[in-house]
């Protein structure tokens, strides 16, 4: 054993390695991505790791490995689970031989996601057990236990951390390499009665699953991570209890340790719910407050149990309006909820009292600072070119998931719709069929193209759509931390493999017009869009330029004050964070500028150039 300062996701990865995992597959998505990356970085030589093309592929690869008796893990964010749900829902009936952990990270807030969906529901829906860690140390240990349960019950199990657990760091105790489990497995054994799903088999297995989950609920009532904390002497008389899980449990525990302990129920396996343990928690209580994020899962379970056993206990939470029903909980919101529920004043000697915080009455109005495309980002240039080329035309710009969703912000304002991975193509087709006079564009990044846009292209070609597909190819998966994908020619095993060529894929599908252009060449890009968008049917433009975060900046540009007429066209059209107003004059923040030169290309008076040329009084960009 030794101590390491680890991110929750890194802790999960090390726990997975310590459990003797044989294969890990996944698709990047905040807040889950670092799990697979850390397994790849810290793996022992016999672990296979891959970024799959999407979550469905990843789920199937991990299932295949578990069919052989190997231990496998598949990683994704919560919305990725929607993509993987087809194989998952059937896998429920088939089960596994080796332990299989499905890591689906939820994102209360949401901080970096489209939805606030709750994987605990998916767990109940798919009838698969769910483990819900509350901090990195617990996540490290829990993932190892999850493999044991998975093998014991021959079923995939969920590990569902949330953002603050995934991205929280802690100094935790982990095993040395010599202590890692080695998991040997016998290989796949042919048995069509077990591995081939048929209605009859599903019926029989459905019966077994329901019985198993009864057993599991009892088993989980004994599981040490589901736990009841007793009230301190003075709070026993209150007959009030708190039920919680995940990161919210840590906020609740900390609050109660300061205010005086009330009876506290920690739910680490929200499905199957540890009913017997819940009954001993409810015993002697008259009221319970449920503190959880996303949906009221614990609250509904306790309400159900009270009904089932005719218990005179009132259950409060999101359903009753006692806790807010959307967004993430904070240390402060949980403290407020609990103090109010327990009827305790918030100025007890140990408590953090609200008035020790500074008054915010006279606070100056703060600027909103939403995320923006980086200075020098090639996506900005691509959006500008399409915008300029289509000026005055009736258009729709269907966006997608990735950094380029940020193209929706002013002044670019180039994302009219965004739904989910790959959806922009279908939306553009649907709009086009209803509004033939609208020029329809779909923007998609290179990683998203491989993950979920190819079927959309085939659909468009087959069904005679009229649309322009714009591929923003920056040769990486930028938003989630620059993971490789099929177009990059690198794998997570460190191999250099043949790149899958996007242009060849599109031509293979049957597109006649596919043009590749460097978006940072503004004039050529505008001309290209004008030319291509005019063509009938399905056509594509590939804007190809590497992500600025992965390239060496070519040096900052500067505004020549003698030439600048302060028209602010650069600021109005680009929204680049390096373009600022200082003493009423446009200037360039040299610490941010990467020298992409887009602003110098749109400046009507050539006032932006490299500093050396400016000093020489030279001509800018002509």
């Amino acid at each position: 054993m030794h101590k390491e300062f680890l991110m929750g996701n890194e802790a999960i990865a090390l726990g997975t390695i310590a459990a003797g995992v044989n294969l890990v597959s996944g698709y990047p998505g905040t807040p889950s991505s670092e799990v697979l990356e850390t397994v790849a970085k810290r793996r022992t030589s016999d672990i296979y790791v891959e970024w799959s093309v999407n979550e469905k592929a990843a789920m199937e690869v991990a299932a295949g490995a578990a069919y052989t008796g190997a231990r496998s893990m598949v990683t994704m964010k919560q919305v990725g689970l929607n993509v993987a749900s087809d194989p998952l829902m059937s896998l429920e009936y088939i089960g596994v031989k080796g332990g299989m952990v499905v890591l689906a990270a939820d994102d209360p807030g949401p901080i970096s996601s489209q939805t606030e969906q709750d994987t605990r529901h998916f767990s109940a829906f798919s009838k698969l057990p769910c483990f819900d860690p509350s901090d990195p140390q617990e996540a490290y240990e829990m993932v190892q236990e999850a493999f044991e349960y998975s093998e014991k019950y021959e079923t995939p199990v969920f590990l569902r951390p949330t953002t603050r657990v995934c991205h929280g760091y802690a100094s935790i105790t982990v095993k040395d390499e010599a202590e890692y489990k080695v998991h040997n497995f016998e290989g796949f054994t042919k048995d069509s009665g077990r591995w081939v799903i048929f209605p009859r088999l599903s019926y029989q297995n459905h019966i077994k699953i329901e019985a198993r989950n009864q057993t599991l609920a009892d088993d989980f009532s004994e599981y040490s991570r589901n736990r009841i904390y007793q009230a301190c002497r003075k709070n026993v008389l209150l007959k009030k209890g708190i039920a919680s899980g995940g990161i919210s449990f840590t906020y609740a525990l900390e609050t109660l340790e300061e205010a005086g302990m009330a009876k506290l129920f920690k739910v680490s396996t929200p499905h199957p719910f540890p009913e017997r343990l819940a009954l001993s928690f409810l015993e002697g209580l008259t009221e319970v407050l449920c503190i959880e994020e996303l949906d009221p899962v614990i609250e509904r379970e306790l309400t159900y149990i009270c009904g089932k056993y005719h218990l005179p206990v009132k259950i409060y939470g999101k359903l009753t309006g006692h806790v807010k029903n959307a967004g993430e909980n904070s240390r402060d919101s949980v403290q407020e909820n609990i103090m109010q529920f327990l009827g305790l004043a918030s100025d007890s000697p140990n408590m953090v009292s609200a008035d020790s915080a500074l008054s915010t009455d006279s606070m100056p109005s703060l600027p909103v600072r939403p995320p923006v495309l980086c200075a020098g980002c090639p996506h900005r240039a691509s959006f500008c070119a399409v915008k300029a080329a289509m000026k005055g035309k009736k258009t729709i710009f269907c966006g997608d998931i990735g950094c380029y969703t940020l193209g929706n912000a002013m002044p670019l304002d180039m994302v009219d719709t965004c739904l989910c991975m790959g959806a922009g193509l279908g939306i553009a087709q649907g709009v086009g069929h209803m509004e033939p006079d609208t020029t329809c564009f779909a923007f998609v990044g290179d990683s998203t193209f491989f993950a979920s846009a190819i079927t959309g292209v085939i659909n468009a070609v087959y069904n005679q759509a009229d649309m322009t597909l714009v591929i923003l190819d920056n040769s990486t998966t930028a938003m989630t931390g620059h993971q490789p994908h099929p177009g990059t020619g690198r794998t997570m095993m460190g191999e250099i493999v043949q790149k899958i060529n996007i242009e060849a894929v599109l031509r293979g599908i049957g597109l006649k017009v596919v043009e590749i252009v460097n978006p940072l060449d503004y004039e050529a890009s505008v001309e290209c869009v004008k030319r291509v968008a005019w063509e009938p049917g399905v056509k594509a433009i590939i804007f190809k330029a590497p992500c600025i975060a992965l390239t060496k900046p070519s040096g900052s540009l500067a505004v020549s004050p003698d030439k600048c007429i302060n028209c602010r066209k650069c600021i109005r059209e680009l929204g680049c964070p390096a373009l600022v107003i200082s003493e009423k004059q446009v200037s360039i923040d040299s610490s941010l500028c990467t020298g992409c030169s887009l602003c110098s290309q749109i400046c009507p008076v050539n006032a932006i150039c490299p500093p050396a040329e400016k000093d020489k009084g030279g001509v800018c960009h002509e």
Binding site: S112, A170, Y251, E257, R331, D332, V352, T360, P371
Partner: protein, 194 residues
Amino acid sequence: MNKNIILCGVGGQGTVLASKLIAAAAMKKGLPVMSAETIGMAQRGGSVFSHIRIGEGLRSPMIARGTADVILGFEPGEAVRMLPYLKKGGQAVVSIRGIMPVTAALSGAGYKSEEMLSYLEKQVEHLLVVDTEKACRDIGSPKVLNILLLGAAAHSGALGLSDEDIKEAIKEHVPEKFHDMNLRALAYTHPDTP
């Protein structure tokens, strides 16, 4: 020693490395550490923060309002945003240099970091404003902002960590070719530095 520390700024300013160095330095002293930070979409030039907690008996990495011992503000407006977390008598160490949000440049409304600094001066008893503009020029890189602030906070005594503690963390966690530059940044605000 129990410390609650908040780092705040704009995505890309180096708050993540600074919080790693604080954690590493504390762990070297045998202290338990928990932290949480902004990762993901907001890293692209949005408001970002790190919470760092050092000491025994911690349950979660998140800091309650009014309980931070120190705020390291990488940008004056972002320091104001996080000010409700500072406890009474807490220390704020703030970079003088404002970063104009794109929204402010667009609206032409401008953004006056001086207003933010004067608000901080009025509200915070223990405020240290670091002239990071001059310091970065003297050291020759805008990238040392994080270490400058870390150094200033350490010298104020509020972190409970010494120069030596942080120096060791830099040597372990920063590529060697940047050691010299960062060590100069660390020492820049030290009273003994000429």
